[in-house]
């Protein structure tokens, strides 16, 4: 799967997480209680509750269709854009109910950024891609401020060296991995506190994947990150806490090391050892 990890993924071999588990003991800032999601008549998420710690990486794993992406999209209310989708239960960020009718969803999405599965730069220049969010939220007042923010965002996303001399080039002209980092830079530029990543590396090659993973490591110093991934190795490499979903239910949630080394639930163990999925 990845050049940096040679341990066999399946067949009982344990995968040892690379990150120290102690980072996950921070205070929780996102809290979900009895969250349910319905698509029309069909229920996709069944009463999920969890506490997500601050400034760390939390990974959602599970087989396709288990509801992990759907659950992720509850945190910035992207499910609102899907016809017939209903979210129940309660989600709070810093104690604030994000499904409160008085909450402004535009403000929420500025605080909770999202990186999508497929890199989706706008058909604009690299510069305008980054400046898009800050401009609509009025975070920058003039050209100099915008320049500065674009540069710092690209630097944080580790893309500055590669693109600093062609900021006017279209963002769609970059390679897949660069596009994904551009999308991360774009998200950072609006100054979020939480970044949601929905399988950010599934469209990337192993080298680009490893660059993005290193980036995630750095970003967790400043941001609370929730990442959905298909790759258990990736979850083991980047996350401090891991949640395993199956058929719309949260089966097990705990320290990444514990989940991978010593899962409490049979289903988790079966998934990790490759027997379901």
């Amino acid at each position: 799967m990845n050049a940096t990890n040679n341990s066999g993924p399946m067949g009982g071999n344990r995968i040892v997480p690379s990150a120290p588990a102690s980072a996950a003991s921070a205070v929780s800032r996102i809290s979900a209680k009895d969250v349910t999601v319905h698509y029309g008549e069909k229920q996709a998420i069944f009463g999920v509750s969890m506490e997500v710690p601050e400034k760390s990486v939390t990974a959602f794993i599970g087989p396709s269709g288990c509801g992990k992406s759907t659950f992720l999209r509850c945190f910035n209310r992207m499910n609102d854009t899907i016809e017939g989708c209903k979210v129940g239960g309660k989600i709070t960020i810093d104690g604030e109910d994000i499904y409160d009718p008085s909450l402004d969803v535009v403000e929420l999405r500025a605080r909770v950024g999202m990186v999508f599965q497929k890199p989706n730069p706008f058909p604009k220049s690299i510069y305008d891609n980054i400046a898009y969010g800050p401009r609509i939220h009025g975070l920058v007042k003039n050209k100099a401020e915008t320049d500065e923010l674009v540069e710092s965002s690209l630097k944080k996303a580790g893309l500055w060296k590669e693109v600093h001399d062609r900021l006017d080039a279209p963002g769609t002209g970059l390679s897949g991995g660069q596009q994904q980092r551009l999308c991360i830079a774009r998200t950072i530029a609006t100054g979020p506190e939480v970044i949601l990543m929905d399988e950010p590396c599934s469209a990337l090659d192993p080298i680009a994947t490893s660059i993005v993973e290193d980036l995630i490591h750095e970003l967790k110093e400043q941001y609370t990150i929730i990442i959905v991934t298909h790759s258990m190795q990736q979850a083991a490499r980047v996350s401090q806490k891991t949640a395993f979903f199956h058929l719309g239910k949260l089966i097990e949630y705990g320290e990444t090391e514990q989940i991978f080394v010593n899962p409490k639930e049979k289903q988790t163990e079966a998934y990790i050892t490759g027997r379901i999925g």
Binding site: N76, M78, T81, E83, V106, E107, L108, R109, A110, G113, M114, F116, Q117, K118, N120, P121, F122, P123, K124, Y132, G133, I136, H137, T172, C183, R186, T187, T190
Partner: protein
């Protein structure tokens, strides 16, 4: 009668030959493995039965006129010399008697006899051809049937025939286009022997003087008034159609819930199904008087038939065109792009204005150009609603005229077909053709470029 006979003959041959081929093939199958399945053998035998007949009929179509001419020459009295106008009119009278159209005045006795003889000659010739065709068909069928073996590559032959038939159809389509262009060009060249191209393209007065029937160019043939009228009406039409069409497309794709959209889209598309002549009525009976009344209220005169009336109604006609094309194009903008913008906290309107419309813009421009070429070529609405006044002026409240209307006028009058008054229609048609062609090429180039962007 004749065509029914031929059709029955062809169908019968097809049926018989096909079943002959299939049964023969089944027989062969007993002995060894077939190269092609029995249907292909049947089809091959059927082709051999019908193709000679069809070729013969085609030859006859081209040659029957010559045979008739030869027969008529033998029937006409020797006093009438070939090559004279007298000869041509006598021959035409005979043809009309033979085909049962009848002729002006009383037919002379010799004419009646000769006409009847010609009719009989035609019938006999036709029957002979059909009989010959039937014989050829049967011979072809029997020949191919006897040649069938298990290894006959019938599938390959049938495939080759299908390919040839497809090429033939494409060639017909291309040649038709070429033929139309050539006839436009030659007639236009003839027109330019009467009127200089400079006068035509840059003249500001349109007054061909239809009252005179002389072959001299007595009037003025400046096309600028028509160009201005055409552009003005198209412009007004686009001013109406573009905002309404585009915004309805945006609403349908981005805001309307699917049930509502499924109910509304067909209603908008019904507009596209209304014949343009009906729009013409609507312009003449409803919009024109309404605009004129509105002008009275506002204190300035608006003619009931004017560029404004025609343009507004044409715009309404084009709305579904723009709306449905833009709808498709906007729908092609990937959903991930929309999600990306919403995920950054942009509102729906910001997303549409700053991401979706810019991404779809090249496609939308292509749609607009296609709509413009449609507007320029539109005739019936303008005939009824624009007042047919080919005068160079830029006031949309006054009557005006366009290329298409002027072509109709030029060809439906009783002017001699070889006169510049009629020939000018071809020059106008060619100009219109070139303008529309350029617009379409531009539109297609833009649409193609747009397609590449997301692939």
């Amino acid at each position: 009668m004749t065509s029914v006979l031929i059709a029955v003959l062809v169908l019968a041959l097809l049926g018989i030959a096909y079943s002959q081929g299939v049964s023969r093939s089944r027989l062969l199958a007993g002995q060894t493995r077939l190269h092609s399945r029995p249907q292909y053998h049947g089809a091959l035998v059927a082709l051999w039965a019908v193709l000679p007949l069809l070729v013969l009929l085609l030859v006859w179509l081209l040659a029957s006129g010559m045979a008739q001419d030869w027969y008529i020459a033998s029937q006409l009295p020797v006093e009438i010399l070939p090559g004279t106008t007298e000869y041509a009119s006598a021959a035409a009278r005979l043809r009309n008697i033979a085909s049962g159209f009848g002729v002006a005045g009383e037919a002379a006795e010799w004419e009646a006899t000769a006409g009847a003889a010609l009719a009989q000659f035609n019938t006999v010739l036709m029957l002979a051809i059909v009989a010959l065709g039937a014989v050829l068909g049967v011979v072809g069928m029997l020949y191919m049937r006897s040649r069938l073996t298990a290894r006959t590559r019938a599938r390959n032959h049938v495939e080759a025939f299908i390919k040839a038939a497809l090429i033939f159809c494409s060639v017909v389509a291309i040649l038709t286009t070429v033929g139309i262009v050539v006839s436009l060009v030659t007639e236009t060249v003839r027109f330019f022997t009467f009127v200089s191209p400079f006068e035509f393209f840059f003249g500001t007065v349109w007054n061909p003087g239809y009252s005179t029937t002389s072959n001299e160019a007595s009037g003025s043939y400046g096309m600028l008034p028509l160009l201005v009228g055409t552009v003005m009406i198209s412009l007004i039409a686009m001013l109406v159609a573009l905002p309404v069409g585009l915004m309805s497309a945006i609403w349908l794709t981005q805001y309307a819930n699917p049930k509502l959209r499924n109910a509304i889209k067909p209603v908008i598309e019904i507009l596209a199904g209304i014949p343009t002549i009906v729009y013409g009525f609507f312009a003449l009976v409803t919009v024109g008087p309404a605009l004129s009344g509105l002008g009275d209220v506002l204190g300035f005169g608006i003619n009931a038939t004017s560029a404004l009336t025609a343009g507004i109604v044409m715009g309404i006609m084009i709305i579904p065109f723009i709306s449905s094309l833009s709808d498709d194009i906007i729908r092609q903008v990937p959903r991930t792009m929309r999600d990306g913008s919403l995920g950054l906290g942009a509102t729906k309107a910001e997303t549409i204005r700053m991401v979706i419309v810019p991404a779809a813009l090249p496609g939308i421009v292509g749609a607009i150009l296609l709509a413009v070429s449609r507007a320029i070529g539109e005739t019936m609405i303008v005939v009824l609603a624009a007042g047919n006044a080919p005068i160079l002026r830029f006031d949309p409240t006054e009557p005006t005229s366009t290329f298409t209307v002027t072509i109709v006028t030029a060809l439906t009058g009783d002017a001699d077909f070889a006169s510049p008054q009629s020939l000018v229609a071809f020059a106008l048609g060619l100009t219109l053709f070139v303008i529309t062609l350029l617009l379409n090429i531009g539109a297609l180039a833009i649409v193609r470029k747009y397609r590449e962007q997301y692939e």
